[in-house]
Amino acid sequence: MAELTMVEAINLALRQEMEQDEKVVILGEDVGWDGGIFRVTEGLVEQFGEDRVIDTPLAESGILGFSIGMAIHGMKPVPEMQFSGFSYLGFHQIESHASRLRWRSQGRFTVPMTVRMPYGGGVRALEHHSESREVFYAHMPGLKFVVPSGPRNARALLVAAIRDPDPVVFFEPKKSYRAFREEVPDEDEPAEIGPASIVRPGDGLTMVAWGSMLPATLEAAERIAEEEGAEPEVIDVTTLAPLDYGTVAGSVKKTGRCVVVQEAPLTYGPAGEIAARLQEEAFLRLKAPVARVAGPDVHMPYFAREKSYLPGAERIIQASRAALHY
């Protein structure tokens, strides 16, 4: 077992999947000899050659449409969008083709591809390099949408995504790329796309987060436990589509209180969806309205002010106190 960063863990997943299934290919801008601008694909072209780690022309739609074709022919492409903020130049390929091909061909053709893309703020990047727009992909039928929160689940979930028979969008929280290390087993670790996991058990308050928001949420949970004497239960939603309502509702039936944390702008975000569902499934058990901690409904500010945009432990603690003392 080695202590890896998320970048290294994703690299390990890619390498091991490519070793054991020659249908897996990687393609994108700078993924080859440069090893990807975040070094996620480092060393892969040396090991697998240019036919399997493909430096493409600079064209997002090209990368995605071409990958869809390869997937139709039976390969397992893992295209990379350099930043999620540029995936819109190929968004129509995901919406119009990848997510629909199984349905549109009555099951004859499928698109087993995994689109990886770094998302989110917190690394003082340029405009278009920091946004969090998960609802675009979570809203689309025919697509799975995974957001790991740390090195270990990033590795396990990416393997599951590559092996999945359907298209998967895989959001990588770039703020967490190198922020911390985790033990990651050398051998395969089975993961399942879908189930959320309870990463901190408790019975005083349910806190729900995913991806880049998990570390701040865990930090807030510790402080709430110390300062309020209530043990929060923290749920890591590793998959936004299909979303595991059951685990969240089960927890809230127990705690009666819930705070959902998202990096995306508040309005229409996944937190709203989770709150609506809790209102249906646990209405009589709720002791307080479901609180949402989110970015404001603005574009991600330029980096000097990105901290004021991003939900952090302080805002999560504030919302948690409000929920506890309602």
């Binding site: 036919d51 493409t56 739609s61 090209g62 074709g69 390969m75 199984r102 349905w103 799975k144």
Partner: protein, 365 residues
């Protein structure tokens, strides 16, 4: 520093084999068996008559909007017939004649036109992709399929269809670029039918030809008389051979004309005049081909009547079958089919609620 020249060394050729008067250039004419010639003619005629029937069905509210192929039958049958069965067909939404050549059942097509996904039945073993509606987007998939075929050494070729309007889309350029950079055995067939809905070809591009766009991507491009089935076949056959032997892609521009409306939702009299249509009617690809077949003694009034009668029977039978299937296509559960390999919990829950007759798909617990 002297001014010198650089750039592509190729020119765009224009190919025509069977002219408007039905005269054949014997040197260029590909050789076919009589049976194959008649099969090509029958497929073109079936597509034309099928559209005529569909127009009536659409006008009486039995099926929805569709895009008539009328006038483009030679461009489609000529090119698609250059493929082997194990090659890939990546169509847009107007490829009725090419679809018939590839074995698509007219009854299935009518069920689809009536608004049921169940009408998408890809013939057993056929590598036919379903229609693509967003203009230009499917060409990239064809390039990707061809790339995978080359890597896997299967010897397959992909052929993809689109209109003149599609050449303005970014995806067209990305597809040509990828196909050329990565040596993809793919044939791009542009049916330049002169209009993208109401917008004339001259408003899409100032390029002299659409085929010349190939040169910018370092691949071969050729313009053909798209109402001449022989020219379309010869160009496609050449492109398919090149793709199979050298993996190089080709762009073929078939210069043709859409004799009908863009789709049944469109009124072409708003943007083009009758004179223009009449001019193109004289170049009708079916009549041109028919007169050659008559000259060769393969067709006469009697055998044409027989063929027409059989086609009418085929279409009648297709509609009978389609009507029965449409009547039986009840219940909502089919809308949940084929979204993912395995239904999600949420889909199962929503399907149950809808089958129980609940209005929404969410509610109290």
């Amino acid at each position: 520093m002297p001014l010198t020249e650089t750039g592509p060394d190729s020119k765009i050729e224009y190919l025509s084999i069977l002219n408007e008067d039905g005269e054949l250039d014997k040197e260029l004419a590909p050789q076919f068996t009589d049976d194959l010639l008649l099969k090509g003619y029958r497929t073109m005629l079936l597509a034309r008559r099928f559209d005529e029937r569909r127009l009536k069905l659409q006008r009486s509210g039995r099926i929805g909007t569709f895009a008539p192929v009328n006038g483009q039958e030679a461009a489609q049958v000529g090119t698609i017939s250059a493929l082997r069965e194990d090659d890939w067909f990546v169509p847009s939404y107007r490829e009725t004649a090419a679809n018939f050549w590839r074995g698509t059942n007219p009854a299935d097509m009518l069920v689809f036109d009536a608004g049921y996904n169940e009408g998408i039945v890809i013939p057993e073993g056929a590598r036919n992709l379903p229609n693509s509606v967003p203009v230009g987007t499917q060409m990239l998939q064809a390039a990707g399929i061809a790339y995978a075929a080359r890597l896997e050494g299967t010897g397959e070729v992909a052929m993809t269809y689109f209109g003149d309007g599609a050449t303005s889309q970014g995806d067209f350029h990305e597809a040509l670029n990828f196909a050329s950079v990565f040596d993809c055995p793919v044939v791009f067939v542009c049916q330049n039918n002169q209009y993208a809905i109401s917008v004339p070809r001259a408003r899409q591009t100032r390029s002299q030809t659409l085929a010349q766009k190939a040169l910018a991507y370092g691949m071969d491009g050729i313009q053909v008389d798209g109402n001449d089935i022989f020219a379309c076949f010869a160009a496609a056959d050449d492109a398919v051979r090149r793709a199979r032997e050298t993996f190089r892609p080709t762009l073929i521009e078939c210069v043709t004309y859409r004799l009908e409306m863009h789709t049944t939702a469109d009124d072409p009299s708003r943007y083009r005049d009758e004179e223009e249509v009449e001019k193109w009617e004289k170049r009708d690809p079916i009549e041109r081909f028919g007169s050659l077949l008559r000259e060769r003694g393969l067709l006469d009034d009697g055998s044409l009547e027989d063929m027409e009668a059989k086609i009418a029977e085929t279409i009648d039978a297709a509609w009978d079958e389609a009507e029965k299937r449409i009547e039986k296509a009840e219940g909502v559960s089919a809308i949940f089919d084929h979204i993912l390999e395995q239904e999600t919990h949420e889909q199962v829950r929503q399907k149950q609620q809808m089958s129980d007759g609940l209005g929404g798909v969410s509610g109290y617990g």
